[in-house]
């Protein structure tokens, strides 16, 4: 088809476009054809490369046409030819062959760039060893192409783990890191970032001198700097020994260089330098304590959030790890108006999912400990942003919004004001607990758990929105995580609720379900089930009847756990159930007495005695509470119970407990002892 002649004629415009953008099928076909000239093959390779670079959709469509194995095939045979020529002593340029290698390696790299399906296809086609062989090629351009593609592959989590325990691998890695070529040394650092996961691996690499080499790369080109910052963070993560070394004389100044790089002119370098410092601080808390540096880190990360690209997407995650779990950092973030700035981004919207998720996670961490942060966020229409995100179509965003809501709902003030208990919040949450993704379900359940703690009046709203029915359904899930978190929410729903509401919840849950949850295979589930029962029997005398109805089946289930469970947390909750029952009528107290005091056949101690001697102060406290409730004065049977308790030899043990290291235990022991003395006087 004549191209130059037709380009000016408007009628031929479509044929021109067909000519300039070849059809993918033809291109792939040309690669595997043997009856095609060298030039045509090179052109097909370049066309594929130019079509897929920067274009995800095109990568996918070429992938589906099987382009990756074809391109890797061309790369493999060209590389083999080149190797044999070099082996035969061929010296000089083999321009055509090199061009084929460069173009096909570049295409392979582009398939693997930011596209997991592409990485998988490239790996499946066996490209990795071929690309590695290019790193020692005499032509520098070939080396560049090979190393670039490998770097892109090693940025994906799908790349195979590099085995650092083999000497020849460590030698190879060091040869990469020592290379003058920035793509090759950058590749070495990327391999470290991707493959170093354990403490042992960190040590092997450090012993081999990798840490030292990486520090020297900080002074290199942008590629070397960035790659080195990332892998330094990998080597230093949760590794105080290495951090001590880096702070010591041998590598003096290394962290100053990193600090300097937080002010670099390239945003990505700034971000990576911040992340490296954050890793150091999180793994070695006495480092980075001065307020100025901390404030600067916050300021830099906030500024990076304005970046429109990937750097801006990642900045909130770095901010998150800087402030997570650290009250001092959250206070600083509050003073530096982080909430305001994050909300401004939310307001500006619409944002990409990754960034939106990151911002909500950062806000979640900000609101995790301090009330001032929570009220600031809420005053900035925070709840509105959260409810909008709950209906986002991305699961990660939904989960992040739930986590943020969970932490904001720790605000007792706002909780009692009932600001979370309304349909715009509850309806989407109830919807999300049935989501297909477990992480969304768990995040939504946790948010509900906190919201339903609510004091008194608003709990019916939740039940009316269908929340109770869903929670009960999920408590029977096959997945123990879901059972655990739904039960947690039910427990909180049952907390300080009126008797009528209790009845509704109990009827929905049923006694038999509750019994099977108490003997769940998972101890954590047992603990929550018992804590739920504890909340049922907390309050009026009437509500104790819930667990004594039907031949006291539920009550005996609890007692059974007290006899055979081994996990302290389970025993503590079980003991509080009995302690609450013991606060009831004469009949209730007697029921508890008969379970706690006698020494059972096969045991050498009563349950009460055993728990009072527990190593765990929480269990000692719980047992003492039960004792206190059993001996409450002014009950007809108090004297009789006091006598049996004394006869069981408990009062002398109580005297020892007056010197207990735990203050709570000391205090309850004193009360109990006083009660045991009263009838005599």
């Amino acid at each position: 088809m004549p191209t130059s002649a037709s380009s000016s004629a408007p009628i031929a415009s479509s044929s021109v476009s067909a000519q300039s953008r070849p059809v993918p099928q033809d291109l792939v076909g040309r690669l595997s054809s043997s009856a095609i000239s060298h030039e045509a093959k090179l052109k097909a390779l370049r066309d594929i490369k130019n079509q897929i670079i920067g274009n995800r959709t095109k990568k996918l469509s070429f992938l589906k046409l099987g382009a990756v194995p074809s391109v890797v095939g061309v790369l493999a045979s060209a590389t083999a030819t080149a190797t044999s020529r070099i082996g035969c002593g061929f010296i000089g340029d083999d321009h055509d062959l090199d061009s084929i290698i460069i173009q096909s390696a570049a295409a392979v790299g582009s398939f693997a760039c930011g596209f997991d399906a592409g990485v998988q296809a490239v790996l499946d086609a066996g490209a990795l060893p071929i690309l590695f062989s290019l790193v020692s090629h005499p032509n520098e351009k070939v080396v560049d192409a090979g190393a670039r593609s490998l770097r892109l592959i090693y940025q994906s989590k799908l790349a195979p783990k590099f085995d650092f325990f083999q000497d020849q691998n460590i030698h190879f890695l060091l040869s990469l890191l020592n290379s003058e070529n920035e793509n090759v040394s950058g590749l070495g650092a990327s391999i470290v970032t991707h493959s170093c996961e354990t403490k042992v691996e960190q040590n092997v690499l450090e012993d081999a001198g990798v840490l030292k080499k990486l520090i020297s790369l900080l002074a290199g080109s942008m590629i070397q700097r960035d790659a080195s910052l990332e892998s330094l963070a990998t080597l230093l993560k949760e590794n105080p020994a290495a951090i001590l070394k880096i702070l010591g004389t041998e590598h003096r100044g290394a962290l100053d260089v990193v600090t300097e790089l937080t002010r670099d002119k390239y945003p990505r370098t700034r971000l990576l330098a911040c992340m490296c410092l954050i890793v150091v601080r999180n793994s070695y808390p006495s480092y980075l304590q001065d307020v100025r540096t901390k404030t600067q880190l916050i300021a830099i990360l906030l500024e990076l959030l304005d970046d429109a690209g990937q750097v801006g997407d990642e900045a909130p995650y770095a901010l998150s790890s800087l402030i997570a779990g650290k009250e001092d950092m959250q206070k600083l973030a509050f003073e530096d108006r982080v909430a305001e700035k994050l909300c401004k981004h939310l307001e500006k919207g619409p944002l990409q999912a990754r960034r939106l998720q990151g911002i909500f996670l950062a806000l979640a961490d900000l609101c995790s400990l301090l009330e001032c942060c929570r009220s600031r966020f809420l005053s900035l229409k925070g709840l509105q942003f959260i409810t909008n995100a709950l209906t986002n179509d991305n699961a990660d965003v939904q989960a992040a919004a739930c986590i943020c809501l969970r932490n904001v709902a720790r605000s007792v003030k706002n909780l009692s004001a009932g600001i979370f208990m309304n349909e715009p919040v509850i309806i989407p949450l109830v919807h999300l607990i049935c989501d297909a993704s477990t992480s969304v379900q768990v995040a939504a359940l946790d948010a509900i758990s906190n919201i339903v703690v609510d004091f008194m009046t608003h709990k019916t709203t939740f039940i009316q929105c269908g929340g109770l029915k869903q929670l009960v359904q999920l408590s029977k899930s096959m997945d123990s995580t879901i059972r655990l978190h739904s039960l947690w929410a039910l427990k909180n729903l049952m907390f300080l609720v009126d008797d009528r509401c209790k009845e509704t919840i109990f009827a929905e849950l049923t006694q038999s379900t509750l019994r099977s949850l108490i003997r769940d295979p998972e101890a954590a589930v047992q603990e929550q089930a018992l804590a739920l029962v504890r909340n049922i029997v907390d309050g009026s005398v009437e509500c104790i009847e819930f667990i004594l109805a039907d031949d006291a089946l539920l009550f005996h289930e609890v007692v059974r756990q007290l006899q055979c469970a081994s996990k302290t947390e389970v025993l503590v909750q079980g003991m509080y159930v009995l302690s609450n029952v013991a606060s009831g009528t004469e009949l209730h107290k007697e029921a508890v007495m008969t379970q706690l005091l006698p020494v059972r056949p096969g045991d050498n101690q009563s349950i009460m005695f055993k728990f009072l001697q527990s190593d765990d102060s929480r269990l000692r406290t719980a047992a003492l509470w039960a004792l206190v409730n059993l001996c409450l004065p002014n009950f007809p049977g108090t004297y009789r119970r006091v006598l049996s308790i004394r006869n069981a030899g408990i009062s002398s043990h109580l005297k020892n407990m007056l010197h207990d290291p735990c203050l709570d235990v000391k205090l309850r022991a004193r009360t109990a002892l006083a009660q045991l003395l009263i009838p005599d006087a």
Partner: protein, 242 residues
């Protein structure tokens, strides 16, 4: 940079000496300046930096041979970079994209915004050339998926496609897209991305030095009357107004 610190030091000295505005004569000033030492090699490197960054490859080559100053970048890559820049400036965007990909395939693969702007420029060129059908097809196939990935791209795409809706594009609200300045904007974006990928500053150092000089003079004006440089192109000292 050294020149900057020299001026700052002088500024500090003057501040220490006088509380009222001091007058410095041309002789005093020239004497002070002659005490300042600047290495020839530094000057050469500044000039080389300017030539390299601005893309004067032949001049850089000659300057290298004549002054012995080594450029901090492979001069061949400057030729390639200038070719890319020129291709965009002439509206041959596809050609420019291929050249960038030959230079370093990572640039457009890891810089979605730049890639979108180049594709947008391609669309603009198609519309400019009246290839309506082709433009629509291109927008639909190549650009629409990018718009789905990114909201701000979608808005820019809509603005660009709006060009097709007007009879007289030169007078329409989005007419600025057809302006030559749009090509220059895209060209300089590509140029900067290539320089960044080569770990090279995207701006030469010389203009920043001159900016620092002007700033320092402005600071000094409040404290002293001295021979200042008004015309940067001649760098002539002008007698202080007393």
């Amino acid at each position: 940079m050294s020149l900057f610190w020299i001026v700052i030091r002088q500024l500090a000295e003057i501040e220490a000496m006088a509380t009222s505005k001091k007058v410095i004569t041309r002789e005093e000033w020239e004497k002070k300046l002659s005490d300042v030492k600047i290495a020839k090699e530094d000057m050469n490197r500044l000039v080389m930096n300017f030539l390299v960054t601005e893309g004067y490859v032949d001049a850089a080559e000659k300057f290298k041979n004549e002054s012995g100053t080594e450029p901090d970048i492979d001069l061949a890559t400057i030729t390639d970079r200038m070719a890319v820049k020129k291709a965009v400036q002439c509206g041959n965007v596809e050609d420019a994209i291929e050249k960038v990909n030959d230079l370093n395939p990572e640039i457009l693969d890891t810089n979605p915004q730049l890639f979108f702007h180049l594709q947008q420029q391609r669309l603009i060129e198609l519309i400019r050339n009246g290839k309506v059908e082709e433009a629509l097809e291109f927008a639909q196939e190549e650009l629409a998926p990018r718009g789905e990935e990114n909201q701000s791209f979608l808005e820019e795409l809509e603005r660009t496609v709006a060009l097709l809706a007007f009879e007289d594009v030169t007078n329409c609200p989005v007419g600025d897209l057809l302006d030559i300045s749009q090509r220059l904007k895209t060209a300089s974006e590509v140029n900067a991305a290539i320089l960044t990928s080569q770990s090279h500053e995207k701006d030469p150092k010389l203009p920043s030095l001159l900016k620092l000089l002007l700033w320092a003079q402005n600071q000094l004006d409040e404290k002293a009357a001295y021979p200042r440089i008004k015309d940067l192109s001649t760098a002539a000292l002008e007698d202080p107004a007393v």
